[in-house]
């Protein structure tokens, strides 16, 4: 296949021969992939395929073998939005408090709110969530919560954003808003975004590149190549669906 201009883009993240074994289970096997600058790169795969394990390996939270190499141009910062943020919803932490805890070392309960309010609102404005400043974290809807998490991940400005299942626990409208936000970040700031997702249609709409994994890489290419439902079904191991020639091609490609 000839190299397109997109494939000539500079690589930001290079993963080679990544292996993760936990409790005797080989969760990830010889994973190889590249993430390019300025791309929205999606990782898809069925449940239990190792998507979150891959993300945790990239963020340094999972012991692994192989190499994960970032080729940063500037500050080398990674912005991370976790899949689940488990916390006690009764703890009285507002969105303002939450952002401030990350902005300053000076004890929050001794500092005056008005000194930081402008800065916090500016941070939240990027993800259209400035109006949530005084809301308690435990009272946010799934979509609002995601936007606040994304806002914190953008400070200081990262070179790559890692999003783990950004559409989970978010309703249809919230998911759409979030997607347009990601597209805007990419367009306005040239953000590179690596996201794990399970909603294929959504991902095909916004991603520049898709890597499918099921313990190992089963597909790596442009989202257009996944327009064939049979191919997607094969990637997700849905044997009940007619797989047809697409599945056969995929087998050849991944073997």
């Amino acid at each position: 296949m000839p190299h397109t201009a997109e494939e000539q883009r500079e690589t930001l993240l290079e993963i080679r021969n990544l292996n993760v074994t936990l409790g005797g289970n080989h969760i990830l096997q010889d994973v190889n992939m590249d993430v390019k600058y300025g791309h929205i790169h999606a990782i898809i795969g069925p449940n239990g395929a190792g998507k979150t394990t891959l993300m945790r390996s990239i963020t340094g939270g999972m012991p692994h073998t192989g190499t994960i190499r970032f080729m940063f141009r500037e500050n080398g910062r990674i912005g991370y939005v976790p899949q689940l943020l488990e916390f006690d919803h009764s703890v009285p932490i507002t969105v303002f408090d939450f952002i401030c805890l990350m902005l300053q070392d000076f004890p929050l309960f001794l500092s005056r709110k008005k000194h930081k309010l402008k800065r916090v609102k500016e941070i939240l404005e990027v993800t259209d969530s400035a109006h949530l400043t005084d809301r308690l974290m435990g009272s946010l809807s799934g979509g609002e919560f995601r936007r606040v998490l994304l806002a914190q991940a953008l400070v200081p400005l990262p070179e790559i954003l890692l999003l783990d299942e950004p559409a989970s626990n978010v309703d249809e409208v919230g998911a759409r808003q979030f997607e347009s936000l990601l597209l805007r970040l990419k367009k306005d700031h040239g953000h590179s975004i690596l996201m794990v997702g399970h909603d294929i249609q959504r991902i095909l709409d916004i991603a520049d590149r898709v890597t499918a994994i099921n313990r190992t890489v089963t597909f790596d290419g442009s989202p257009q190549e996944l327009k064939d439902p049979a191919r997607v079904a094969a990637l997700f191991g849905l044997s009940a669906m007619p797989l047809g020639a697409g599945a056969a091609n995929l087998q050849q490609e991944t073997s």
Binding site: T59, G61, T94, C100, L101, D105
Partner: protein, 295 residues
């Protein structure tokens, strides 16, 4: 210390303070209450956020063994500091280590250790109480205004000053790590290390407050003021300040009342803090701006 006691008892004699503050033990107790209250109230906000309430109880229970160990190793009956601080710190740090290394839920680990320190405590107490005055042990269990001495007050002041400074330096990071460790780690913090720091602080302050409040009751003073504050506050800043206020009122008013009643100080402090908790619960609908579970 005598200088301070003389000044304060002078105020009491002149009618500026209630008459009961002419007694040195009351002044000493009130000073201890005014140091321990704010510190326990502030730490309580993190304890609640980290869900460490029963962790605190385990440290209280470990104190029984700590006193017994101190006595067995020849420490004076009114100053078993090495045994107390040493054993309680070991228990706290081992529990944190097991919590971070094991997949067991937090409450299971605490249950296991709580039972173990109780077992050790009962065995050692049985040995110790055949040789020593049982009232010294009672003072640790329930808090005692009478047996609180200058050494205890100085130990509390030193522990609270040290813990207070470290608490201020690390508050934001500890709170973020408590709120969600995964996110804290992704932002370059070390939540496990921060947890060790916090647990050490908490243990030192709790152990220093034991003579005033009592090992069996100290849990209440670290949890109830923060829980009461949680009923009526709208943000983290208010959470910390109201918790400090409730804890200080509880210790000071509890101690004042205990001066008139022939009952352990800790018990009265607990009753005052419980009163504040239920009062805040009743006031909740009138004070909080919004529902936490709006979504």
């Amino acid at each position: 210390m005598e200088f301070i006691y003389n000044i304060i008892s002078g105020w009491a004699s002149a009618g500026y303070l209630p008459e009961i503050f002419q007694h040195t033990f009351m002044i000493r107790g009130m000073l201890a209450a005014l140091i321990a209250g704010p510190m326990l109230g502030a730490l309580g906000t993190v304890v609640i956020t980290k869900k460490l309430s029963f962790f605190t109880q385990t440290i209280g229970n470990a104190a029984m063994s700590g006193v017994a160990i101190g006595l067995l190793f020849g420490e004076p009956v009114d100053g078993t500091y090495a045994g107390l601080y040493g054993f309680c710190l070991i228990v706290a740090l081992v529990m944190t280590f097991v919590k971070n290394r094991s997949r067991l839920p937090n409450d299971t680990i605490i249950g296991v250790v709580l039972a173990q320190v109780l077992g050790i405590g009962i065995v050692l107490m049985t040995i110790v109480t055949s040789q020593f005055n049982i009232h010294q042990v009672e003072a640790i269990l329930f808090g005692s205004l009478i047996t609180l001495n200058d050494q205890d007050l100085l130990a509390l002041a030193a522990a609270s000053t040290g813990a207070g400074i470290i608490f201020l330096l690390f508050f934001n990071r500890v709170m973020l790590g408590s709120f969600n460790p995964v996110l804290a780690k992704a932002r370059g913090l070390r939540p496990v290390l921060l947890e060790y720091v916090f647990v050490t602080l908490m243990t030192v302050v709790v152990v220093s407050s034991l003579k005033l409040i009592g090992a069996l009751l100290v849990l209440v003073l670290i949890v109830v003021p923060a829980a009461g504050a949680q009923n009526i506050v709208n943000n983290l800043r208010q959470f910390v300040w109201v918790s400090i206020l409730f804890a200080t009122i509880s210790t000071a008013a509890g101690l004042f009342l205990a001066g008139f009643l022939p009952v352990p100080t800790g018990a009265v402090i607990v009753l005052v803090s419980s009163f504040l908790f239920y009062g805040s619960l009743l006031l909740k609908p009138f004070i909080t701006k919004r529902s936490v579970t709006q979504a």
